[in-house]
Symmetry: C2
């Protein structure tokens, strides 16, 4: 007997018919002898509907007071879901009880609309599990020290599920999604993309942050921190497939590096075309220069991704970084009006027509020549590399966006990702 956490997305909860299917699937697991905790999202479209009503009354939630009310409103979507799922399970003859974030309680800070979980009290849930009940907990939300309802931000139900699994020391947390696992790259771009049976936690982090949007990144961080075995699998399989088959489907996110050593050097190719690059040329190379450039950017709440500064010549250096394309114009204005006068930079240049392509693999740590193989593959296709950054398990290049698909396909092939992995 294991303690299992299931997480179902909004699509799986999209109608009473689908909720009934979720109930049947959960009941199957419970009848197999497992203690079951379920974290469902709001019915698809519901959170948008609720926030849309709020927006009609106040276009922007610019104050903590307004954000508190948004959380009050948005959190009801999940509350309806848990109640409906509990009813569906009871209708299946399976004892079940639902809890909101404040009832568990799931304690968070007071950062309304983007709160962080601080502590989960598992006492009430454990008592129900011991009594043979399926426990259903609202995703996406918690309660702060002042008894205010908070939400974790969009996609926060993944994080809730992993946090609950961590608090309960669950044997596995299964995330049921629209996709059937994590792929070597996006199958819409590379037809030969394969589903990975396992992926390491660190690789998953890099894949998630680079745009393979299977899981919310914070949920992966949480899983890593608390070593929660996490499985991404399809919610579209029939509810009554054999439980053994279901339990080994999808992609398992693991913490055992030894397993990976025997496998491919590179696990996947990630990419992102939401960014724009900006360079300050001829910046005087003195201590504190990076801060005097990025300080004002951070203050303006603009997120920076890649940052590159190369060695200097004649006391001058070039400083480059990427921001989201939506922030490009604002960042350029800021640099020209504030940063250039302050730093004495010679010039500001930028380009929105770029993309970032990355190879990700825990095997890169112990294999030399991985990056050069990447550069060779791109060179063979005549693709010019504009920027390069590397980390222990990832190498990223910034290239002209028109080459993105070509680069992803070339790299997928160069690292033998088209071939089925050894079993």
């Amino acid at each position: 007997m294991a303690l299992i956490v299931h997480k179902y997305g909004g699509t799986s909860m999209g109608s009473t018919e689908r909720i009934r299917n979720v109930a049947k699937r959960v009941a199957k697991w419970a009848r197999a002898g497992h203690q079951m905790v379920v974290v469902p999202s709001a019915m698809s479209g519901e959170t948008n509907r609720l926030l849309g009503l709020a927006k009609e009354l106040s276009p922007a939630a610019t104050t903590p007071e307004l954000q508190r009310e948004l959380d009050m409103i948005a959190s009801t979507g999940e509350q309806v879901s848990v109640g409906l799922l509990a009813i569906a399970l009871q209708a299946e003859g399976m004892p079940a009880v639902s809890y909101t974030g404040w009832q568990v309680p799931i304690e968070t800070d007071s950062a309304f609309t983007k709160a962080r979980i601080q502590r989960i009290d598992d006492q009430r849930v454990r008592a129900d599990l011991a009594a043979g009940r399926v426990v259903i907990i609202t995703g996406f939300q918690g309660v702060d020290a002042g008894s205010n309802i908070t939400t974790l931000g969009r996609g926060g139900s993944d994080t809730s599920a992993v946090a609950v699994a961590a608090a309960l020391k669950a044997d596995e947390c299964l995330i049921y999604t629209d996709v059937d696992g994590v792929y070597t790259t996006d199958p819409r771009i590379v037809e030969q993309a394969r589903r990975l049976h396992t992926i390491s936690f660190e690789e998953m982090l890099e894949m998630a942050s680079l745009g393979s949007k299977v899981l919310q990144i914070r949920s992966v961080e949480f899983a890593g921190k608390y070593r929660v075995p996490l499985r991404v699998l399809s919610s579209f399989t029939p509810w009554d497939i054999p439980i053994d088959e279901e339990a080994s489907s999808g992609t398992l996110i693991t913490f055992e590096e030894d397993v990976k050593m025997e496998q491919a050097v590179v696990s996947g190719i990630a990419f992102n075309r939401d960014e724009a690059k900006i360079s300050l040329l001829g910046v005087p190379d003195r201590p504190g220069i990076a801060f005097s450039i990025l300080g004002p950017v951070a203050e303006a709440n603009i997120d920076v991704d890649v940052i590159i500064q190369n060695v200097s010549h004649d006391g001058k250096t070039d400083f480059s970084f990427t921001v989201h394309r939506n922030d490009y114009a604002r960042t350029m204005d800021l640099l020209k009006s504030v940063v250039v006068p302050k730093t004495g930079a010679a010039e500001v240049t930028g380009d929105t027509r770029i993309c970032k392509v990355s190879i990700v693999g825990i095997g890169m740590r112990s294999h030399v020549g991985v990056a050069s193989r990447m550069f060779q593959a791109l060179s063979n296709e005549g693709i010019n590399i504009q920027m390069i950054t590397t980390s222990e398990i990832k190498t990223s290049v910034v290239i002209d966006e028109k080459y993105m698909e070509l680069a992803v396909r070339a790299l997928h092939k160069a690292f033998d990702l088209d071939q089925p992995a050894a079993a």
Copy 2:
């Protein structure tokens, strides 16, 4: 400066445009210097939509476990309303904060779907009022000792508003509704029906329970118990009418009997055609007979309204009562199969084509001949009286339903309710 509670129904909260109007009206009161607490219902149709979803999964909520989940689901309607109204007020530049039942907290028993309020903690609300904030509290719901969400049953928002007003010792509780006050009788039946400027608490109780469905009966009981001055007024007046005019509109439910002594003997005519009458004839007249008849009926959860037992002849008596028409067939079956064999009654008869018409007036206490004037008026119209019951401030007759409108009109005229009251 007064402490005022406003209650708005689902129609008033039916769209963001209407919510904006409610916010403007409340802001007007707050800017006039009043401390404001607002109790809104769910947006019209929302509670039915939510319970409809639950019903698709489980047609009947027959267990406390299922009823708990219904409350979990249904309570979200009001939670959305309070959040939206708080946002609308903030958008008007008026500080406002919303609370659910459990946040106040409004403590109830654990009778899910029909809980009763036990205690309201006013500390948090008072702090907000002192800080100049409008406080918005969910109607219809509370929290039990086990931190489960409970609801008060349909229409419970009236009760919430009055209970909150009682806990805060509010100066007045204003119930904004689809009608502009309490009338001498239903204007759809008697064209000359007039709005009452004031009505006593006891009269209001009788009027409410007899079908003048302006206020939920429990809210009137609450108002009486805690002496909360209650005003029923229209939510359809423009939000910007002068506050003095608004504050004296509608019908005020008072506790000062002296005021009433100078006014009409009868305040209104109530009626009800939802009932059916049932008689057991030739019942042996012995101690315990009423219980042996009504005990099984109560056990079957059938509500009984009028009960009549007249003097006996030859050791036999006739026992009559009324039930809701929906319960008529079930009650007849129960009497024939269980009660008749047990009591030795000679016969069971019943009739669904009846109605109940009542005159209500606190003045009846001190005026003789009120009932006989009623019987005379009915006699003049050739209406036969089937049953009669009386209380201190009410006299009811059961008659053939086809005479209902005629009887109401005749009584309305006989007691001079067509004439404007003295100012």
